[in-house]
């Protein structure tokens, strides 16, 4: 019996999310005394395998097939299903990223097993499992038990700190060629358009967010300057995109991007639940607002009651002073 971890990588560079899933899965495989195995798919999988093998994994399964070079959720799901069957997988885990959840949704449908997405605290005991799952974007926590023959979970992204696991050194890499119908590649990626290079809202260590309180599109100039000086990016609330001050790609929230920076500087943002859902994974929050009752002020680790148009440029100036001195 095995615990399979689907690991995401970008052309051989293993994603943090994969290390989160492995860190999460390791104690489960230890306590249940079942083999911890990884699954890698796509271009560069061999390179990625070398990084993962030192992470305490017994076997890294690489799915090799000419139809698996590029990402296709359906065909990747079928490949994972076949690897799961081949290795008598009892538990299948990935990180709850968009891609992880998407592939596991296909795997679950193909295995006709329930899938618990975005879980914390998974406990397995024999044939039953219990897990805490987030709902309403994290404002509710639900405890669920299940006795499905194959337990399929994704782990809430950013809820686990990836820990480098001790290298056992005796892990092996196995190539597995699934039997795939080329019809499963019917969704074809014909072009990739990259708009942002370097840090994005999802990966930025600092996000400078602006809300209705910024007042105008031009008002964001000072937020841009601060973001540049501090090495972060600008985000915004829904009110801002509704007013056309910023594009939707900058929107943080349930109907936008979910961020997890070291610090979120939320200026002029009241913090409605829909926005909070996208910002709650931030490790620290600094709120700048004129309203002491604003949700964001009551939830922030540090809050300044004042005018963001004065405070933000003053921080930028302070940072510049330091840099020049």
């Amino acid at each position: 019996m095995t615990l399979l971890v689907l690991c995401d990588h970008d052309r051989g560079v293993v994603s943090d999310s994969a290390y989160e899933a492995l860190t999460f899965a390791k104690p489960i495989s230890d306590s249940e005394n079942i083999s911890l195995q990884a699954v890698l798919i796509g271009q560069g999988a061999e390179e990625a395998a070398k990084s993962i093998i030192s992470f305490g994994v017994e076997t890294v399964n690489i799915a090799t097939h000419e139809c698996l070079t590029d990402y296709g959720p359906e065909i990747w799901g079928e490949a994972v299903k076949q690897i799961a069957n081949e290795n008598a997988a009892k538990i299948i885990v990935s990180c709850g990223t968009d891609r992880g959840n998407e592939v596991l949704a296909h795997v679950a449908a193909r295995l006709e097993m329930p899938f618990l997405a975005n879980c914390r605290n998974i406990q397995i005991e024999g044939n039953s499992s219990s897990a805490t799952r987030i709902q309403w974007g994290g404002s509710l926590l639900e405890d669920v038990t299940s006795n499905a023959e194959v337990q399929i979970f994704s782990v809430e992204h950013h809820s686990t700190d990836p820990q480098p696991l001790s290298a056992s050194g005796d892990g092996r890499i196995v190539n597995f060629e699934p039997d795939l119908d080329s019809q499963l590649t019917r969704t074809l990626v014909v072009d990739r358009v990259v708009r942002t290079h370097g840090i994005t809202l999802t990966t930025a260590p600092v996000v400078v967010g602006g809300g209705r309180g910024v007042g105008s599109a031009e008002g964001f100039a000072s937020l841009e300057e601060l973001a540049e000086e501090i090495g972060g990016v600008v985000g915004c609330s829904r009110a801002v995109t509704n007013n056309g001050w910023r594009p939707h790609s900058d929107q943080v929230g349930q109907t936008g991007t979910r961020i997890a920076p070291e610090i979120y500087i939320a200026s002029g943002i009241s913090g409605a639940i829909q926005h909070w859902v996208g910002a709650m994974a931030a490790k620290n929050i600094l709120a700048i607002n004129t309203d002491p009752e604003a949700n964001m002020v009551t939830k922030a680790g540090y809050a300044v009651l004042g005018d963001l148009h004065e405070v933000i440029p003053a921080i930028t100036a302070e940072l510049r002073n330091r840099r020049n001195s």
Partner: protein, 259 residues
């Protein structure tokens, strides 16, 4: 071109109601509204049918209790009709059971395209669209921000972290639509009046030929043992700016070692 949009009726997020300690689910006796995430799919479907010059937008929804408030909103926007699958046995359905029910209802409608939201605001699983596609054996594209249809081919701009992919797939297909990518129209007064007379076909599980044992609590193979609010984040220090707040902020940022 006929488009089916899967829509969910949920409690108002601003006033989600209480938790039911017996079933460990949200009480749904408050008025249900159209999940805002779904209004984008409805709008996109209306635009695609307009562009095609013929066809209509139909809705498919599932709820244990037979509510139609959210459906009427989407009908008022311009959808022509709705299928509402309603059955007490549906309570407790997980994503796969939900997909099973919606897929069966979609089949009756035989559309050229199926649109959904990327995830519901309440359940928040985001796996139903892909599973509907699996059950209907149709291609699935998620996180669509732009959809264009040319004959039998759909071209989708699929949102990615750093930009977008252009994805092509044959129709019919199941495409999930990212929120915020179109501006959902407000129902006009005329639309609201017309919606009252638009057909909402209410079906139970037997009408769809679904065994009640395969859905709801019985089919989910899982049990909710507890549900609670997330622990609140503790408020930190609050200071009033008297011209020197930036210095305090610098000290705070220094402490966090983010500079």
């Amino acid at each position: 071109m006929d488009v089916v949009v899967c829509v969910k009726q949920i409690p108002d997020p601003a006033d989600p109601g209480e938790l039911n300690p017996d079933t460990k689910t949200l009480k749904r006796d408050t008025k249900l509204i159209l999940d805002e995430s779904d209004s984008y799919g409805v709008e996109m479907a209306l635009q695609l049918v307009d562009a095609a010059g013929s066809g209509e937008v139909r809705l498919v929804s599932m709820t244990p209790g037979g509510e139609t408030g959210g459906l009427r909103t989407a009908l008022a926007m311009g959808a022509e009709s709705a299928i509402l699958v309603s059955d007490e046995a549906l309570a407790g359905s997980d994503a796969l059971s939900t997909a099973k029910v919606l897929a069966a209802a979609i089949k009756r409608s035989n559309p050229d395209l199926i649109l959904t939201a990327t995830e519901s605001s309440d359940g928040y699983t985001g796996t139903v669209p892909e599973q509907i596609a699996e059950l209907l054996d149709l291609p699935s594209v998620t996180f669509g921000k732009e959809v264009a249809v040319d004959g039998e081919l759909a071209t989708v701009k699929r949102q990615t972290e750093s930009g977008y992919d252009v994805v092509e797939c044959p129709l019919p297909a199941v495409i999930s639509v990212t929120a915020g990518v179109v501006e959902p129209r407000y129902p006009s007064f005329k639309g609201i009046m017309a919606a009252k007379n638009k057909p909402v076909e209410e079906l139970d599980l037997s009408a769809l030929g679904i065994d009640p044992q395969t859905v709801g609590w019985a089919g989910a193979r899982q049990e909710i043992t507890e549900i609670a609010d997330s622990p609140a984040r503790e408020a930190g220090e609050v200071v009033v700016d008297e011209g020197e707040a930036h210095e305090r902020i610098m000290a705070f940022l220094d402490d966090l070692k983010v500079l």
